[in-house]
């Protein structure tokens, strides 16, 4: 081994990486429970949406009021004017039950993740971007790299780049809280105790519409997330999130 290639910092890194997992056990477990709950929420949410694929703004809206927009699909209820001559099978019973059960699962799991993220410093260390990385020059560099489909460097299997950090922070601290909030704002009992939770959104139908768009953004995130995992190396990234072990440096 040539002396000139010896880098002590790399050596220390290697020792720590042999013991510390890429993702902590809490993060791995909560990641997969959240994934399962999200899948259940998405499928059941689509089923519920099919019973009334029309959206409104404000407090109230129904088939005899003008919609903000409609999803051009048939509905599972004959009372909805969709332009289609047939009615899809009604799946709302189990869908609603699954939706709320999975919502509880996601919220409780998210709470555990949130507390662990603060206690272990996960948010501060792994997700908060360095100040320098937020400068336009640094940002544009990373964006350009993504646009040129450059393969991620080896260090990226150990640390998130600034775009990943921003995306994860947006999902964890904006999209997830907002979808819980807008979900609760559709609950007649919850808003009886906390009326401000729905009036701040512009009404119950507005809450439903925001809930829908938030879901679209989360699905977009999921698609990019899965695509990135595949591009970066499906096996190594999956192994890191399941067993905690990442590739060698």
């Amino acid at each position: 081994m040539a002396d000139s290639a010896w880098d002590p910092s790399l050596a220390t890194d290697h020792v720590t990486t042999a013991t510390a997992p890429r993702h902590t056990a809490v993060n791995r477990v909560t990641h997969w429970i959240t994934a399962l709950c999200f899948f259940a929420l998405l499928v059941s949410g689509i089923e519920i949406l099919i019973s009334h694929p029309r959206f409104y703004w404000g407090e109230a809206g129904n088939s005899s009021t003008p919609p903000l927009f409609t999803i051009p699909i048939p509905a599972s209820r004959a009372t909805v004017p969709t332009g289609y001559s047939y009615v899809l099978p009604d799946q709302n019973g189990w869908s609603r039950s699954l939706h709320f059960q999975a919502a509880w699962g996601a919220v409780l799991t998210g709470l555990l993740y949130f507390i662990a993220g603060i206690v272990t410093g996960h948010f501060r260390r792994n997700l908060l971007p360095a100040r320098g990385d937020l400068k336009w020059a640094a940002l544009s560099n990373v964006i350009a790299g993504h646009l040129r489909f450059q393969n991620p460097g080896e260090n990226e299997s150990w640390s998130y780049n600034v775009l990943q950090r921003l995306a994860y922070l947006g999902v964890i601290f904006v999209l997830f809280p907002l979808i819980i909030w807008t979900g609760l704002a559709m609950s007649p009992a919850f808003v009886s105790a906390f009326p401000g939770s729905v009036t701040a959104l512009g009404g119950q139908q507005s809450a439903r519409t925001i809930h829908f768009f938030d879901c679209i953004l989360l699905v977009l995130f999921l698609m990019v997330h899965v695509a990135m995992v595949i591009i970066a190396g499906f096996r190594s990234r999956m192994r890191a999130m399941i067993t905690g072990r990442a590739g060698h440096r």
Binding site: I48, E59, N62, P188, R208
Partner: protein
């Protein structure tokens, strides 16, 4: 190593015992304070129970939002074709003067009330949201008698825990706990937006439970039964029994 695993074993056993007895105490307390929904459905029991317990802790006495007149929806949406049976049509032809509301179960004075008798009770109005589980909603002014007043008039017994309410439409029967049955905004409604309650919106008499989704506001009410148990009722539905959500 041996010592360590023994310590682990003891800690584990203590933690498990504490956990199990803690859960048992919690379940007992939850039941005593009415936090366990009476109708749970196997796989969905955890979700049902968490929702109901949270809502009963947060919203036992909270009031549904009421709206100004300007927020009333132009057309109170009629959800599907009206209920029709020979007897219903006959009663409708007679202006529902023969409509009877039967009340039985845990009450001191079971019997029947006519629509006229129900209308003679002090009436109340509320402008509230009717939100369907499908996603649509409308705001309307509902006039009727608070259910609590009727239950008091027939002498509801102290051991009452639930109210089962039935429609003339044999497909509809539902039940609720006393937190909602005695809630000041839970009405037996006979008026909508200043007129009689149209048949399409549940006339002549509809349960209005504004703190729960529309499917708990059963139409064409003709029977109330006060009970202390829901065994045998409302258990096989794929929809959640508690619909405050």
């Amino acid at each position: 190593m041996n010592k360590l695993s023994r310590r682990k074993l003891i800690t584990g056993a203590v933690a498990t015992t504490a956990g199990v007895s803690g859960l048992a105490v919690a379940a007992n307390l939850a039941d005593r304070y009415g936090l366990i929904p009476p109708a749970r459905r196997g796989f969905y029991s955890p979700g049902d129970t968490l929702t109901y317990a949270s809502q009963r802790l947060l919203t036992r006495h909270s009031m549904a939002r009421e709206f100004p007149r300007s927020e009333i929806s132009k057309t109170p949406f009629v959800n599907g074709p009206p209920f029709q049976s020979a007897e219903f049509k006959r009663l409708e032809a007679g202006g529902f003067s023969g409509w009877q509301l039967a009340i039985d179960g845990l009450v001191a004075r079971p019997g029947t009330l006519s629509l006229a008798q129900i209308r003679s009770y002090p009436s109340r109005s509320q402008i509230t949201h009717l939100a369907c589980e499908e996603g649509w909603s409308y705001i309307a002014e509902w006039t009727g008698v608070p259910l609590a007043h009727v239950l008091e008039a027939v002498g509801m017994l102290p051991q009452a825990r639930y109210l089962i309410y039935s429609s003339m439409d044999p497909n509809w029967e539902d039940s609720m706990d006393m937190a909602d049955a005695l809630h000041p905004q839970t009405f037996l409604a006979y008026g909508l937006n200043g007129g009689d309650l149209p048949v399409g919106n549940g006339g002549p008499l509809r349960m209005r439970v504004p703190r729960q989704l529309g499917y708990k506001s059963v139409k064409h009410i003709n029977r109330l039964k006060v009970t202390d148990t829901l065994k045998g009722y409302a258990s096989d539905s794929s929809y959640s029994w508690y619909a405050g959500i």
